[in-house]
C-alpha cells in the first residue's frame, strides 16, 4: 500500500527523466504521448488511492520513505499523507493535468522546444503532488518551491522575447517574498512545537477549542499562533496571488496557454488555499489572522474583478478573473468555510481550465490566417478587439466557452454557481466581506458577458477573425470533457447530499454550509442582469471608444490595474536600483575598498619617509620585526592576565 503512494509522483518523474535525456531522439510526438501517458497513469493511481482512503478506517494513508533532513531534534522524513483532502486534490491535479497534457500535444505542435515543454509539465505535476501529499510543512515547502520553478520555466518558455523572461523572473521573485513569510512560519512552528509533521502539530493544537494550549506544560500563547498563521498566510499571498503580491499572475500569461490553464488557474495558484485548509486547526484558533485572511481575500476578489472589467487581452481577462476567484476561495478559508473553499477550488479548476483552454483554442484559431498567409501585418491574436463573430467558425470552442463562462458568472445549474453561493452564504455574518464579494459577483458576470460577446458574437473585426478555424481533435477532446465537468461539477456538494462536506469532515471538521434560497435567487438574478447589460453594451463591438471623459479615466485606471505595478516600481524597484548602485559604486568602491587602499597608500608613504632608515641589512629588519612582535606579545600577555 505504501509503495502505491509514491507512484503518482514517480510516474511523471520518469517522464521528466526520459524526455529530458532522450527527448531529442524520441521526437515531439513520442515525447508528448509519453508525458500524457505518465500523467494519466498518475491519475489512475490517484483514483486507486482515493478509493482506498474512502474505505480505510482513519480516512488516511501514511507512508514514509526514510529521512530527508535529520539534524539534532530536526527530523524531516520523506513522509506522505493521502487523506480525504489530499486525495481529492490529487484527482484534480492528475486528472485536469492529463487533459491539459493531451491538449498540449495539439497546442505545442511544431514548436522547436516542444520536448522541453513536456518535461516542465511533467515536473510540475510531480512537484504539485509533493506539495499536497507531503506529511510535513517542509515537504509542502519543497513542492511549493518546485512548482514555482516550473512556473518560472513555463512563463519564460519563449524566453527569446525579453518580455517573457521578465515576466518569469517577476513571478519567481514576487513568490519568493511570500516564501520568506512561509519559511519563517515553518521555523516558528518548529520552535513552538518541536516538529514539522502535521499530525503531531495538530494533535497538540487539539480540539479547536482552547486558545491557550499546552505543550509539555508550556502554554502556546495565542500570539504565537497568530504569528505562525500570519507568516504562513504571507506565503499564500504570494502563491495564490493575493493583495499585495498578486502582480505576478497577470504577467504570467506570457507562457503557453495550456500551462496557464494548469498552473496559473487550476492547480498551483490554489496551493495557498490548500495550505490554509490543511492548517485549519491552526487558523481556527487564530481568529484575528482568519479575519485578516477573509478581508484580504475579499479585497483581492474585488480589486481584481474590477480590473478584469477593462482588459482587452483575452487571457488577461481570465488572469484577473483567476486572481479574483482565488480571492473568493481565500475569503472562504478565512471565514472558516473550508469545505466551501475547497469546493470552489475544484469547480474553478474545471471551469477556469476550460476557459483557458478555450481561449487557447481561440488564439490558435486566430493565428491561422497569418500563419497560412505569412502575413507581414501583425495584429495581436489575443486582443478581443480584433475578434468577434467566432461563434460559427469555432462551434466546439464556442460552446465550451459558454459553459465555462456561465459557470464563472455563477448561473445555475453550472458548477460555479453552487460553490460561489456557499461562499457568499458563509460571508453573511461579515458585512464588509459580504459587500465586497457581492460586488465582485456582479463584476464577474459582467466581464464574462463582455468577453463572450466581444469574442464570439457580432461580426468579425479583423481578417484573422474572419478566417479563424476550429482546432483539432487533441484540443477539442479536453474541451468537451472539461465542459461536462464544469456543467456537473456542482454535484460534488449539492444541497441535500453535501458529499464533499462529508468527505472532508475528517480533515476540516463539520461546517454546516447551508443553502440559502433567497441568496441564491438574488445572485442568479444579479448575474443575469449583468450578463444582459454586457450584451447590450458590447453587442455592436464599438462601445469602448465612446466613453465620457470621467468614465474613460476610471477605465484607464482599471485597465492599468489600479496602477499597482507603477506604484511598486516607484516605491520599491527604483529605490532598490538606486541603493544597489550607490552601495556598489560609491560605498563599496569608494568607502570600503577606498579605506583599504588608503591604508596601503599611507603605509607606502610612511615607508618612503622612513627610507633613510633602510639599511639593507636583513639582520636589522629582523630586529625590528622581533621588537614589534615582542611588543605586541607583551600587550597580549598583559591583557590576558
Amino acid at each position: 500500500m505504501s509503495t502505491l503512494v509514491v507512484l503518482p509522483i514517480l510516474f511523471p518523474l520518469i517522464g521528466v527523466v526520459i524526455n529530458a535525456f532522450l527527448g531529442k531522439r524520441l521526437g515531439e510526438k513520442v515525447v508528448g504521448a509519453l508525458a500524457t501517458l505518465m500523467c494519466s497513469a498518475a491519475f489512475v493511481v490517484a483514483l486507486m488511492l482515493f478509493s482506498q482512503v474512502s474505505v480505510s478506517k482513519e480516512h488516511a494513508i501514511h507512508a514514509e520513505f526514510g529521512t530527508w533532513i535529520g539534524v539534532g531534534k530536526l527530523n524531516v522524513p520523506f513522509g506522505f499523507l493521502v487523506d480525504s483532502l489530499s486525495s481529492a486534490l490529487m484527482l484534480i491535479i492528475t486528472g485536469v493535468g492529463a487533459l491539459i497534457h493531451l491538449y498540449s500535444i495539439g497546442y505545442i505542435h511544431g514548436d522547436p522546444r516542444a520536448n522541453r515543454y513536456f518535461v516542465y509539465l511533467n515536473l510540475f505535476v510531480a512537484s504539485m503532488l509533493v506539495l499536497v501529499m507531503g506529511s510535513n510543512y517542509l515537504l509542502m515547502f519543497v513542492g511549493w518551491e518546485l512548482v514555482g520553478l516550473c512556473s518560472y520555466l513555463l512563463i519564460g518558455f519563449w524566453f527569446d522575447k525579453v518580455k517573457n523572461a521578465e515576466a518569469a523572473r517577476k513571478a519567481f521573485v514576487v513568490n519568493r517574498i511570500g516564501d520568506v513569510g512561509f519559511i519563517l512560519g515553518i521555523m516558528l512552528i518548529f520552535v513552538t512545537f518541536g516538529t514539522l509533521n502535521y499530525h503531531d502539530i495538530f494533535a497538540v493544537v487539539g480540539d479547536h477549542k482552547t486558545a491557550a494550549l499546552a505543550l509539555a506544560g508550556d502554554p502556546v500563547a495565542p500570539a504565537v499562533l497568530s504569528a505562525i498563521t500570519l507568516l504562513l498566510f504571507i506565503g499564500a499571498m504570494g502563491k495564490s496571488a493575493q493583495l499585495p503580491l498578486f502582480v505576478w499572475l497577470p504577467d504570467a500569461m506570457a507562457g503557453p496557454t495550456p500551462a496557464s490553464a494548469l498552473i496559473h488557474a487550476a492547480t498551483m495558484v490554489t496551493a495557498g488555499i490548500y495550505m490554509i485548509v490543511r492548517s485549519n486547526a491552526l487558523f481556527h484558533v487564530a481568529a484575528d489572522t482568519s479575519n485578516f485572511v477573509a478581508l484580504i481575500g475579499a479585497l483581492t476578489a474585488f480589486i481584481a474583478g474590477s480590473i478584469a472589467l477593462r482588459q482587452f487581452d483575452i487571457k488577461k481577462v481570465l488572469a484577473y478573473s483567476t486572481v479574483s476567484q482565488l480571492g473568493f476561495m481565500i475569503a472562504a478559508a478565512g471565514l472558516g468555510a473550508y469545505t466551501a473553499s475547497i469546493f470552489h477550488l475544484m469547480t474553478h479548476a474545471f471551469f477556469k481550465a476550460l476557459l483557458f483552454l478555450a481561449a487557447g483554442s481561440v488564439i490558435h484559431g486566430m493565428e491561422h490566417y497569418s500563419h497560412a498567409h505569412h502575413s507581414a501585418q501583425h495584429i495581436d491574436p489575443q486582443d478581443m478587439r480584433n475578434m468577434g463573430g467566432l461563434r460559427g467558425k469555432m462551434p466546439v470552442t464556442f460552446w465550451a466557452f459558454i459553459i465555462g463562462g456561465l459557470s464563472l458568472a455563477g448561473l445555475p445549474p453550472f458548477s460555479g454557481f453552487w460553490s460561489k453561493d456557499e461562499i457568499i452564504v458563509a460571508a453573511l455574518h461579515n458585512p464588509l466581506v459580504f459587500a465586497l464579494l457581492a460586488c465582485t459577483a456582479v463584476f464577474t458576470a459582467f466581464y464574462t458577458g463582455r468577453q463572450l460577446v466581444m469574442v464570439f458574437f457580432g461580426s468579425a473585426r479583423s481578417k484573422d477573425a474572419s478566417h479563424a478555424e476550429e482546432s483539432g481533435m487533441a484540443m477539442k477532446l479536453p474541451l468537451i470533457v472539461l465542459s461536462v465537468l464544469a456543467l456537473i461539477g456542482g454535484g460534488l456538494n449539492l444541497p441535500g447530499s453535501m458529499w464533499l462536506e462529508h468527505w472532508l469532515e475528517p480533515v476540516v471538521g463539520v461546517h454546516e454550509g447551508g443553502f440559502n434560497l433567497p441568496i441564491a435567487a438574488l445572485f442568479s438574478a444579479l448575474a443575469l442582469v449583468a450578463l444582459a447589460a454586457a450584451w447590450v453594451m458590447y453587442r455592436d463591438g464599438k462601445r469602448d471608444t465612446s466613453l465620457t471623459p470621467q468614465l474613460s479615466s476610471v477605465s484607464s485606471f482599471l485597465n492599468k490595474a489600479w496602477q499597482i505595478d507603477a506604484l511598486y516600481r516607484a516605491a520599491i524597484i527604483m529605490p532598490f536600483y538606486a541603493l544597489s548602485s550607490f552601495l556598489a559604486r560609491v560605498f563599496d568602491l569608494g568607502g570600503i575598498d577606498g579605506a583599504v587602499n588608503g591604508i596601503g597608500t599611507l603605509t607606502k608613504g610612511i615607508a618612503a619617509a622612513l627610507r633613510p632608515l633602510q639599511s639593507g641589512f636583513v639582520r636589522s629588519y629582523g630586529l625590528v620585526m622581533i621588537v614589534g612582535v615582542v611588543a605586541l606579545m607583551a600587550w597580549l600577555v598583559i591583557n590576558t592576565r
Binding site: I69, E145, Y152, R176, V180, H378, V596
Partner: protein, 494 residues
C-alpha cells in the same frame, strides 16, 4: 597496519610528491601528473571516509611526531566530524579544478600545476593540523601558490589583485600568529587538544579578536571583503574555483575550530556582533551583487552574501546552526565552484564576462544553459538541491537564537533570487546581442563575439557533472553528512 596510521599524511603530501614529479618530468606530462596525484589523494581520503567512526566525537586517524619539542611544537594531524567534510571537499574540488585548467592556462604549465598541487597540500594541512604552530605554517603557506596563480596567469590587473590578496590576508594573520605564540608560551604547548582542555582563555576577548580578524578577512566577512572581487576577477577560472570552493572555507573553518573551541565564553559575548555582521553581509553582498555587470564580480559578491549565512550559523552556537554551517561550506563550494566554471566556459568562447554583451545563450547552447541553471538554482537555495538544506538548517538554528536578525537574513533569500535570476536572464534568456531584427521582422545574424558558439564539449561537461551530482545528492539525502559531524559538533558546543 603502519600505513593506516599515516593516512592523513598521505592525503596531505601526495600532492607535494606530484609537484616534485611535475618539476622533474616533461611539460607534456604536467597536467596528467597533477590529475593523478590529486585523484590519488582523493582515493585515500575515500578510505578515511569509509572507516570514519561517526559515533566518535574526538579526533581520528591521529598522527603525532615531535617537531620542536623544546617549545612544545609537534607535527600532529587528525580528523573529526568537523574537518572530515572540508577535507573531502578539498580533495574533491582540486581534481576538478585541475581538469578544468587546460583551457585557461596557456603558458608555464609546469609551474602552474606544481603550484596548484602545493596549494592542495597547504589547504589540507590547514584542515587537518592539530598543532597550532603547524596550522599557522600551512595557513601562511596557502597564500603563496594563490598569489602566484593570480599574479602569473591572471587578467589585466593581476599584479594589483594578487598583491592586495596577499598583503590583506597576511596583515590579518599577523595578529593570529601573535595570539598563537601567546597561547603556546602560556600553555607550554602548541597542541590544539591540550589547549582546548586547559581552557585558559575561554573568556579572553583580545585573543578571540586576534583569531577572528584573521578568519574574517579570509571568509571574507563584511567589511573585510574588498579583496575578494578583485582576486576573483583577475584569477584564471580554476583559480577562482579553488579560491571560492576551498580557500574561503579556511576562514569559516577556523572560526569553528579555534574561536568556538578555544574561546567559548568570548564567542558567546561576541556572538551578537558576529551575527549582526553576518546578516549585514548577507544583505549587503546581495545588494551589491545586483549592481555588477561582470559575471565574476557578481558571483564574488554573492559569495560575500552566502558566506554570511555560514557565519550566522556558526555564531548561533547551537547544534542546528553549526551543523548547517558546516554543510553549507560544502554546498557553497559545490555551487559557487560550479558557477565559476560556468563563467569560465563562456569566457573561453566570447573572451568577455560582461553580461551586457551576452544574451540568448540558452537557445544557442542548450546544455550549457541547463548546467548553468542548475548551479544558479542550487545557489538560490531551491529545495531538492543542496543549498536549501544548508540554508534552512542554519536559519532554523539562528531562529532559535535570534528570530529578529534571522528574519532579516531571510530577506537574502529574495535578494538571492533577484540577482542570480537577473544574471541568468541577461546571459541566457532574451536575444543575443548579435541578432538584430531587420525592417521586415526577420532575424539577421550580425558578426560578433557570440557568433557560432558551440555547446559544452564532453571535457567541460565532465568538470560540471560531479558537482551537479553532489548538488542533488546533498539536496535529497543530507543525513549521512549530518550524521558524521553531529558527535563532534555536540562535543564542541558542550
Amino acid at each position: 597496519m603502519y600505513i593506516y596510521s599515516l593516512m592523513l599524511s598521505l592525503i596531505t603530501f601526495i600532492p607535494v610528491i606530484g609537484a616534485l614529479l611535475i618539476i622533474l618530468l616533461s611539460k607534456q606530462l604536467s597536467r596528467t601528473i597533477a590529475l593523478v596525484a590529486s585523484l590519488a589523494s582523493f582515493v585515500v581520503a575515500l578510505l578515511v571516509l569509509n572507516s570514519f567512526n561517526n559515533a566518535q566525537a574526538g579526533f581520528q586517524f591521529v598522527e603525532v611526531a615531535p617537531w620542536i619539542p623544546q617549545f612544545g611544537i609537534s607535527y600532529k594531524l587528525g580528523v573529526d566530524g568537523i574537518s572530515l567534510w572540508l577535507m573531502m571537499l578539498t580533495v574533491f574540488i582540486f581534481p576538478i579544478a585541475i581538469w578544468a585548467s587546460s583551457g585557461a592556462i596557456q603558458h608555464d604549465q609546469k609551474i602552474y600545476y606544481a603550484l596548484v598541487l602545493l596549494m592542495e597540500t597547504a589547504t589540507l594541512g590547514v584542515f587537518l593540523s592539530l598543532d597550532m604552530f603547524l596550522f599557522y605554517v600551512f595557513w601562511e603557506f596557502a597564500l603563496v601558490p594563490m598569489y602566484f596563480i593570480i599574479g602569473l596567469w591572471g587578467g589585466q590587473r593581476r599584479i594589483y589583485a594578487s598583491l592586495k590578496f596577499f598583503i590583506y590576508t597576511m596583515a590579518g594573520s599577523v595578529l593570529m600568529l601573535i595570539a598563537i605564540l601567546v597561547m603556546g608560551v602560556q600553555g607550554q604547548t602548541f597542541d590544539y587538544e591540550a589547549l582546548v582542555k586547559q581552557g585558559l582563555h575561554s573568556a579572553n576577548m583580545s585573543l578571540f579578536l586576534a583569531f577572528a580578524i584573521a578568519f574574517a578577512i579570509k571568509v571574507p566577512m563584511f567589511p573585510f571583503h574588498s579583496w575578494l572581487p578583485d582576486a576573483h576577477v583577475e584569477a584564471p577560472t580554476p583559480g577562482s574555483v579553488i579560491l571560492a570552493a576551498v580557500l574561503l572555507k579556511m576562514g569559516s573553518y577556523g572560526l569553528i575550530r579555534f574561536n568556538l573551541a578555544l574561546f567559548p565564553q568570548a564567542s558567546q559575548q561576541f556572538a551578537p556582533v558576529m551575527i549582526m555582521l553576518a546578516v549585514v553581509g548577507i544583505l549587503y553582498g546581495a545588494i551589491v551583487a545586483f549592481a555588477q555587470s561582470d559575471m565574476k564580480k557578481l558571483i564574488a559578491y554573492s559569495s560575500v552574501s552566502h558566506m554570511g549565512y555560514i557565519i550566522l550559523g556558526i555564531f548561533s552556537m547551537n547544534e542546528l546552526g553549526v551543523q548547517g554551517a558546516i554543510l553549507q561550506m560544502i554546498n557553497h563550494g559545490l555551487s559557487t565552484g560550479g558557477l565559476f566554471l560556468v563563467v569560465g566556459y563562456i569566457y573561453e568562447r566570447m573572451h568577455t564576462r560582461e553580461m551586457g554583451k551576452m544574451g540568448g545563450l540558452w537557445a544557442k547552447m542548450p546544455v550549457y544553459g541547463t548546467v548553468a541553471l542548475l548551479f544558479v538554482l542550487s545557489s538560490v537555495g531551491l529545495p531538492a538541491l543542496n543549498g536549501f538544506v544548508g540554508e534552512f538548517v542554519i536559519l532554523q538554528g539562528a531562529f532559535q537564537r535570534n528570530p529578529l536578525w534571522t528574519g532579516l537574513a531571510t530577506i537574502g533569500m529574495v535578494l538571492g533570487a533577484v540577482y542570480l535570476l537577473t544574471m541568468y536572464q541577461k546571459v541566457f534568456l532574451g536575444k543575443g546581442k548579435d541578432e538584430a531584427v531587420d525592417d521586415h521582422g526577420h532575424h539577421r545574424q550580425v558578426a560578433s563575439a557570440s557568433h557560432g558558439l558551440l555547446d559544452l564539449n564532453w571535457r567541460e561537461l565532465a568538470s560540471a557533472i560531479p558537482l551537479i551530482v553532489f548538488c542533488f545528492y546533498i539536496g535529497l539525502a543530507s543525513t549521512p553528512f549530518f550524521n558524521a559531524m553531529s558527535a563532534s559538533v555536540g562535543k564542541l558546543l558542550k
